[in-house]
Amino acid sequence: MPFIPHTEEDIAEMLASIGADSIETLFDEIPADLKTGQLKKVPVGLSEMEITRLMMERANQDGFYQNFIGAGAYEHHIPAAVWQITTRGEFYSSYTPYQAEASQGTLQLLYEYQTMMASLTGMDVSNASMYDGATALAEAVLMAVRSHKTSRQILIPETVHPAYRKVVRAIVSNQQIEITEIPFDKTTGQVQLSALDAFSNEDIAALVIPQPNFFGVLEQVDELTDWAHKINALAIGVVNPIALALLTPPGEWGEKGADIAVGEGQPLGIPLSSGGPYFGFMACKNSLIRQIPGRIIGRTNDLDGKRGFVLTLQAREQHIRRSKATSNICTNQGLMVTAATIYMSLLGPEGLYRVATHSHANTTSLVQKLTAIPGVEKVFSGPSFHETAIKLPSPIGSVLDKLKQKGILGGFDLQSHYPDMENTLLVCATETKTEADIQHYADQLKQALS
């Protein structure tokens, strides 16, 4: 019996102790008419050897590609130590650290993570993670509405990841929150202050500011943040954590800094793995700490005065506050945070900076080579981080198919989310791409277009 250790003798002794004649007797409180017959669609069990063969066959069927897609999930080198340590049973098979004295490993690690993340974002405090970047933004929106006394209106530029905008809409849909989308400048690919003019006299709870934005373009974050503060709205930054090693962190945007910073933590040592599990990060100013959702770890002392760590501010949470909690979130993405913390330790400030600069430079080089091909053009004039939109001179579907046949995933088709953006490809080359990889892509694109 898979993963059940009982011998016949054990079973007999246990039933005797209980005073039941069979295991089935233990289910005698369940009405007989509810009891299930056979499970018809569940296949018979496999041995470990058989499931290994099956999973390897399916893995091989999917194979490997040279990936130039970013669009919210980024391929970065993950040092070997990250997952070797993360999958140690003591991290992998423990649970939420309710018993602090028996969970100091996880608790201290999360405290270290909060320190790293608060500093990386330039904010005062970080929580211990959210499900993913998209839900972190949705929770930031809820948090902004909770802390803003009068407004339930949120401004979100169309340059924010389209899936994030959908998730925000879905999650806040039943709370009478008004989401207004702000158009972007078709030349620069940025949100212009002029697009916000119409709202200057309105009561707004928050403005969302992506950096870089979904097109990889860098927004004028200082001006946008100051605009938000001028009209008494909160500024919510949505940021890429690798980019933060290179770019001004949200906490330093404009005169006062953003109020909440969120984003997708995946680039910090989490494999692409078809979209999850990743983790969302969330950090904020001190003044908002009691509004932040999710787990928070605090430092304290034990009876002997020795330093230790515990879950704190639990009075915000659902298991205490029930219907009055700041959020219904319970489980977060602890194991992913374990990986990200080890990743940030291994890279350090200099390593993370180098990853960021190489990701930027490789994409710049890729775009130079691709736009040297006749008919291929860069779409936006604004500065970028590690992703750029390019327009192709022929139908994008068949071009991507041809590239795929050469083992290249050429990028993300922007028309799937922006109907006006015909034959436009969002390309990304992180530090994992070599000059030869980039040249190869350019050569193959040239061929596919000819």
Partner: protein
Amino acid sequence: MLIFEHARPGRRNYSQAPITTASTTDIPENLLRKNKPLLPEVSEMDTVRHYTRLSQKNFSIDTEFYPLGSCTMKYNPRACNSLAMLPQYLSRHPLAPEDTGQGYLACMYELQEILKDVTGMAEITLAPMAGAQGELIGVMMIRAYHKSRGDFERTEIIVPDAAHGTNPATAVMCGFKVVEIPTDKEGNVDLNALKAAVGPKTAGLMLTNPSTLGVFEENVTEMSRVVHEAGGLLYYDGANLNAVLGKVKPGDMGFDVIHINLHKTFSTPHGGGGPGSAPVGVGKRLLPFLPVPSVTLEDGKYRWVTEQDRPQTIGRLSAHMGNAGVLLRAYIYVRLLGRDGMHRIAEFATLNANYLMVELRKLGFEIAYPTRRASHEFIVTMKGIKDKTGVTAMNLAKRLLDKGYHAPTTYFPILVPECLLIEPAETESKQTLDAFVTAMKEILTEIAEQPDMVKNAPHTMPLRKLDDVKAARELDLFWKPDA
């Protein structure tokens, strides 16, 4: 020591990051970071040693018996992890074309089919990333269903007082008012209170069955009838599905929507607090409202179901497809178990719980619902002991840590005073349970002979009892270089 205290300025790893700095001169100066972030400057060996040592300060399933009630801390098979971490799965981009991921999508599709069969529901979405998100999706669909029928008066969700805190918190996030109903002496939902609570305002009932009290709701069929006749829908919180897996299907009990915690019943790792994963199943009425994406099979090819296929969908709840890698681990687990393995889980989880309950009762511990069968978990109340000796449930929990056992869940469900919710899970042997009983017996003796020692537990952990009040009063949420 904290990782930052191992650091020295200028120390770094040379193999893990690019060996040079690349040019960024085309980025405007005002957008560039001026000060380096506070990340530790440590060697690879420092990092490996530090986090290995930290891991050793954790209790875990791999190292200790972990009878944390309601959390189903069963063994996480190693093959589920190693096979889900094959490099092809790890390197697959979520937006890669469907035809480059047919192997992966096949696993997802088959998992959906298996979960449909196990739950008796019409369709499954794998998207929700945790139990609380599964609940959110379920209640959002209930709301969308009433709205689609022009029924705007249904503003209340009924929740038993024994429910997980996530239930009422979720209902409020969906814009509902929460109506709490009591539990009767036998641990069942008070049927008369339910009958009095339902009406034209009832949107639905959220029920955990077996309940968090560790007993099967004997009147579930009648409850289902009452709620449905009032025009409400039934939500099944699948947190305790492990107790009835392969024995009872929530669909047969009349539920319209259910979430399943894969990190409980399907043995995906708890990871120190996530990632979870909570597929949601629906009956026919809620089918049009399912979130996207899910996987469908068409002309021999697997593809994503999108908003175009499901125009009434409540939308998207994650940037991609939920916690894909967790789903893969659950898939591997169900294939290892197979058809016969399913009901054995429920059988042996129930056998272990009833055995442990009986053995603890024999020692003199008070069982909260002594006339009932335990499901996969049961409750000991320390109220009598506390009244006599001052030793609380938390004191006993901490003393168990000293004896090498993770504590049961304490003070939940809140309606039983001084409670310990104990869930042994099917993967523990009789010998482990017997050793736990011996430890509990020793503690009983200690309570009688040296209660102060028990009150000051733990004594053998890396730290003694930690001061929660100080942590909340003098908030210290990040390390500072001068601290």
